[in-house]
Amino acid sequence: MTGEVALAVLLLGPLLAALGCLLAGRQGSTVALLALIAGAAAVVVLWDGMLRTGPIEVRLGGWGAPLGIVLRADGLAVGFLAAAVVVMGAVWAVARHDFATPRARDVFWPSSMLLWGALNAIMVSRDLFNLYVGLELLTLTAVAMVALGRGPGAIEAALRYVLYALMGSLVYLLGVVLVYHGHGTLDLDRIAAGRSGADALALGLMTAGLAIKTALFPFHAWLPPAHAGAPSPASALLSALVPKAGFVMLVRLWFEAMPDATPPAALAVMAALGAGAILHGGLMALRQERLKQILAYSTVAQLGYLFVMFPLVGGAGAGTAGAAEAWAGTQIGAFSHALAKAAVFLCAALWIRAIGSDRLADLAGLARAMPLSCFAFGMAAVSLMGLPPSGGFIAKYLVMRASFELGLPGWGLVLAAGGLLAAAYFYRPLAALFAREPPRVQRTPRLLEAVPLALALAAAALGVLSQPAYDLLQAGAPAYARGIGP
C-alpha cells in the first residue's frame, strides 16, 4: 500500500501541480517545488520498498489486465524516476531565475510539471495504449517548451518536431492495433505469454514509430534544432529526459513483450543504427560553432550508445552474465547521460544569461569569471566522454566487456570510437572556456553555479556507486538480462 501511495504521488502529483501552476501564475515555481519535494520522497519510498519486496505492481481501479491498466515500478522504472526527479529539481533551481515574463512563466511551469508527470507515467505503465497517451502528453509539452524559444529558428524547430512526432505516434499506434487484434490484450506481460502472426509487423511498426520519437539515427533530424532552440533550462529537460521515454518503451517491447519475435538480424540492425548515430552525431557536433548545437548533436550520438545493447542482451548471449552487464551498463549510461547532459545545458543557461551568447568564440576565458560552472562543465564532459571516474565510464566499461565476452567485439569498438569523438567535440568548448583571455561578464550568483556542479558530481558518483545501480536494475529485469553478476 505504501508503494501504491508513493506511485500515486509520482503520477497524480505532477499533474495536480501543473493545474496548480496554471492557477497560481506568479507563484507557479513554489507549487512546482512542493510537488518536487513530495516526488523525491516518493522515489525514496519506492526504491526502498522495491529492494525489499521486489517490483511494486498496481492494478488501477482494481481491475488488472487485460481489461484494466497495470502499473509496475521495476528497477528500470525506479532508476529513471529517480533520474527524472533529480534533473527536474536542478532545472527548477535554474529556471526559477529565467522565465521572468508572464508568458514564459505561465507556459513553462505547468508544462514542466506535465512533462515530468508524462515521463513518470511512461516509466511505470505496462499497457501499450496507455503508453501511447503518455507519449503524446510528453511530446506536446516538449513542443510547447521548444516554441517558448525566442530565436528565429524556434518556431521552425517546434514545427519540425511536431511533424515527426505526429507521424511517429501514428505508426506506433498502427502496431498497437495489430497487437490488440492478434493478442486481445494490450498488457505487456500478457502479450509475452502468447504469440500471434501479427507480431513481426506490429513490432516493426511500433519500433519505427518509437525510433522517430527517440530520434534514433536516421530519424534524428528534428532533434538538434529543437534542443538547441529551446530556452536552455528547457533544453536540459528535453535532452536529458525526453528521448529516454521512447527508449524505455522500445526496451520493454523488445525484451519484455515480444522477446521471441526479434531475430538476430533485427537486433543487429538496431545496434547498427545506434552506431550510425554515434558516428554521425559525433561528426556533426565537431562542426558546430554554438555550444548548444554541439550539446544537441552530442545527444544524438549518446542516444546511439543505448542501442548497441540490443544484440548483446537479446542475441546468443541472452541470460548470461554478459547480457546482464550490457543491460546494466546501458541503463547506467542512460542515467549518467541524463545527469551530465542536464549539467552541461544548465551551464549553457547560466553562461547565456551572463554573456548573452553561446558562440564558442564568445565563451573564451569564461573559467576565470565563472570557475564553478566551468569546472562542472568539465566534469560532466568527462562523464559524457566515458572517462573515469564517472557513470559514463562504468557504463561503457560494462557494455564493452560484455561485447568481448559475447564474442562481438565490433560493438565495443564502436563505443570506443564514440568516446574519441566525444573527446574531440568537447575539446573546443573546453579550450575556449579555459583560454587565457579576460572574459567580459556579469556576475552570477555562486549558488546557481553549484546547481550544474551538483549534477556533474552525481554523474561522477554513479561511477563509484555502480553496484547499487546494478542491484537496482536487476530488480524485475527481464529474463534475458538476469545474469549472475558482474
Binding site: L7, L19, G61, W63, I69, R103, L137, L140, G184
Partner: protein, 307 residues
C-alpha cells in the same frame, strides 16, 4: 443491399480522402476533408459504434475542419504560396507497402476475440450501463485522465506561440459580427439549444451513446458561435476564471482518483458509489473540455490592430 451501401460508402471515403490530399486548392482540400470525416462517421454508424460516430463527426470532422479553415485563412493572409504535389516512386512504394502489409495481416491473422467477455462481465460493477463509458471512465480511467490533460498541454503549446507583448491581449482573432446580422441571430438562437444537446449527451452517456468528450465538443461549438457573434467577450490567457474552468475537470478527476486510495486502490470506484463518482467527474470534465476545445480553436492571443 447493405453490402451495396457499404461499397458505395467505402468508395466515397476513398474518393474524399484522395480529393482532400491531392486536390487543387487548400480551401477545397479542407472542404473535402470535412466531407471525408462525415463519411467516416457514417462508417462508424454502419459498424454500430454510435459513440465513436458522434466523436468522429463532432471532433474529427467538425472541430478539425474548423481548425483547418482557420489555418487556410491565416496562410492566405500571410501570403504563403501553394505548390503542386511532388511525385516520387519511393514514397508511393513505402505507403503502399505499409498499407498492403497491414491489410494482409489484418485479414489473414485470426483475431484473438478482443475483450467483449471481460467488459461484459465487469459492466454491472462499473456504475454505468454504456460499456464504452465504462471503459473510458472506469476500466481505463487513467487513459481518459491523461487524455484530458493532453488537451491542456496542447493549449499551453498554442499559448507558447503568443508574442511576448501580446500576452495581455484577448485570445483569438479580432471578431466582428454585424449587429442584427444572420450570425448574431443564429448566435442568440443556438446556444440554448446547443447547451441542452450538450448536457443531454453527457447525461445520456451513462446508459446510451454520448459522453463528456462529445458533450464538451457541442458546448465548445456553442461558445464559439456566441464568441463569433460578439455575444461573449474573448478572455485573456491570464484570466483567472477561465483558468479555473480549464483546470476544474482534470482536478476533480485527479482528486476522485486519489480518493480511491482510501477506498482500496488508486482510481478505484466502489460499485455502490461508482455512478455518483463517475457522473461528478463527467460534469466537471465536460465543462473543462468545452473550455479547452474552444480556446484551442481560438488560438493564442493576437494583436487587435486592423489589417
Amino acid at each position: 443491399m447493405t453490402v451495396l451501401f457499404d461499397l458505395v460508402l467505402c468508395a466515397l471515403m476513398l474518393l474524399a480522402a484522395l480529393a482532400a490530399i491531392g486536390g487543387r486548392g487548400l480551401f477545397r482540400a479542407t472542404v473535402f476533408f470535412v466531407a471525408y470525416g462525415i463519411t467516416v462517421a457514417l462508417a462508424w454508424v454502419r459498424l454500430g459504434a454510435i459513440d465513436v460516430a458522434l466523436a468522429e463527426a463532432a471532433i474529427g470532422a467538425g472541430l478539425t475542419g474548423l481548425l483547418l479553415l482557420g489555418a487556410v485563412a491565416r496562410l492566405r493572409r500571410a501570403g504563403a504560396p501553394e505548390f503542386p504535389v511532388r511525385a516520387g516512386l519511393v514514397p508511393a512504394l513505402a505507403a503502399a507497402g505499409v498499407a498492403g502489409a497491414t491489410g494482409w495481416v489484418a485479414l489473414r491473422v485470426p483475431g484473438a476475440g478482443g475483450l467483449w467477455t471481460e467488459a461484459g462481465e465487469a459492466l454491472p460493477l462499473s456504475g454505468v450501463e454504456n460499456p464504452v463509458t465504462a471503459v473510458l471512465l472506469n476500466f481505463r480511467a487513467w487513459d481518459t485522465l491523461l487524455e484530458s490533460i493532453v488537451l491542456l498541454a496542447a493549449l499551453l503549446a498554442v499559448w507558447a506561440l503568443a508574442r511576448e507583448e501580446e500576452w495581455e491581449a484577448p485570445v483569438g482573432p479580432p471578431l466582428h459580427a454585424r449587429p442584427g446580422g444572420v450570425l448574431e441571430g443564429m448566435a442568440r438562437l443556438l446556444p440554448p439549444v446547443g447547451i441542452v444537446v450538450g448536457v443531454f449527451l453527457v447525461w445520456a452517456g451513462a446508459s446510451q451513446p454520448g459522453g463528456a468528450f462529445q458533450g464538451g465538443t457541442v458546448l465548445a461549438a456553442v461558445g464559439l458561435i456566441a464568441a463569433l457573434a460578439g455575444l461573449v467577450a474573448l478572455p485573456r490567457p491570464d484570466s483567472g476564471s477561465w483558468r479555473t474552468a480549464l483546470a476544474a475537470g482534470p482536478a476533480v478527476f485527479l482528486l476522485v482518483g486519489a480518493s480511491g486510495l482510501a477506498l482500496g486502490g488508486l482510481l478505484l470506484f466502489p460499485p455502490d458509489w461508482a455512478k455518483a463518482m463517475i457522473l461528478t467527474v463527467e460534469v466537471f470534465l465536460t465543462l473543462s473540455i468545452a473550455a479547452t476545445l474552444a480556446l484551442l480553436v481560438l488560438g493564442p492571443p493576437q494583436p487587435r490592430r486592423m489589417p
